[in-house]
């Protein structure tokens, strides 16, 4: 399975709709301090179900909604959509015909309104967070501790206590 693209609007500094298409291989994201690069990492964590505002550098979850700038008004909602493609068997009767498999796009959307109301959608249809989590488990997009290495946090594993590193054994078991 692969990540096709991520789309966001009203998420942190991304006021207007922004689409990042992901290519195979290495993609570098560059730009000056404060232009929004790490906010893209936050968008990933958030659409995958992050519940802690602190781990997104916020005081409350409302902090992820675009708060306005010198030239733009604040927004009422933050929305991030992750589009993946996976090879799905079209028929589930276990037949061997290879042409029954096809590449299918799956989209996962998370929305948060200033009111505090929040939605999850799969393929644009409202669902619950647990439906999204179980879909990720099936397709293997469950991200591991080492899938996202955050800015300034790389030293943590070296500075932490031996017991705090145990999780790595679990991750690869």
């Amino acid at each position: 399975m692969r990540i096709e693209r991520i789309e966001m609007v009203g998420f942190k500094s991304f006021a207007s709709k922004t689409v990042f298409k992901f290519h195979p291989g290495t993609t570098a994201i560059v730009g000056p301090n404060g232009c929004g690069k790490s906010n893209i990492v936050d968008a990933f964590k958030w659409v995958l179900g992050e519940q802690s505002a602190k781990s997104l550098r916020g005081g409350s979850m409302e902090d992820v909604i675009f708060a306005g700038s010198a030239t733009q008004k604040t927004k009422g909602m933050a929305e991030v959509t992750l589009i993946l493609s996976d090879i799905i068997n079209e028929d589930s009767n276990g037949s061997d015909s290879v042409d029954k498999k096809k590449m299918t796009e799956i989209s996962v959307t998370r929305r948060l309104y200033r009111s505090g109301e929040s939605d999850y959608l799969m393929n644009k249809v409202p669902c619950r967070l647990k439906d999204i989590k179980s879909m990720f488990l099936d397709t293997g997009l469950e991200l591991k501790a080492y899938s996202i290495l955050e800015q300034g946090r790389i030293g943590d594993i070296v500075n932490s206590k031996p017991l705090d590193r145990r999780f790595l054994i679990e991750e690869v078991a």
């Binding site: 990540i3 991304f14 291989g25 570098a28 690069k37 790490s38 030239t71 591991k144 590193r165």
Partner: protein, 157 residues
Amino acid sequence: TKSRLEEAFELLNEKFKEVFTMLFGKGRAELQLTEGSILDAGIEIVAQPPGKRLQNMMLLSGGEKALTALSLLFAGFMIKPTPLCLLDEVDAPLDESNTDRFIYLLRELAKSIQFITITHNRRTMEAADYIYGITMEEPGSSKVVSMHLADAPVSTS
């Protein structure tokens, strides 16, 4: 289960030794379990960069600690990869030769996995297959500029 964890630790240790020596160019390192059963033991890191004596890990330099951390995390990654890996400025403390080895490893792993690296490092940028530039021409509001593929001329400034 006990044997499943023991097997996982052995695999992690082997991979870690391999990646450490690859990223440092030479030198060696290993993981050790702290006392007790594997069901509750912690992981001790023993690292010896090229040319140096074995000492307390905390004495290592900023760059050496970062490279050791990357070795351990990449070791896990190579055993149980995920389709995507996001790296945010992990190359910041690395000097030029360590950066080059890091980039080489990245490109090897990227043959089967999508990597996104946020970086200010010119070498890392130049080694990428694609580059996205983020700007704030409109103050406080981010926009993406899809810059160039790795084979387009990159201006050096």
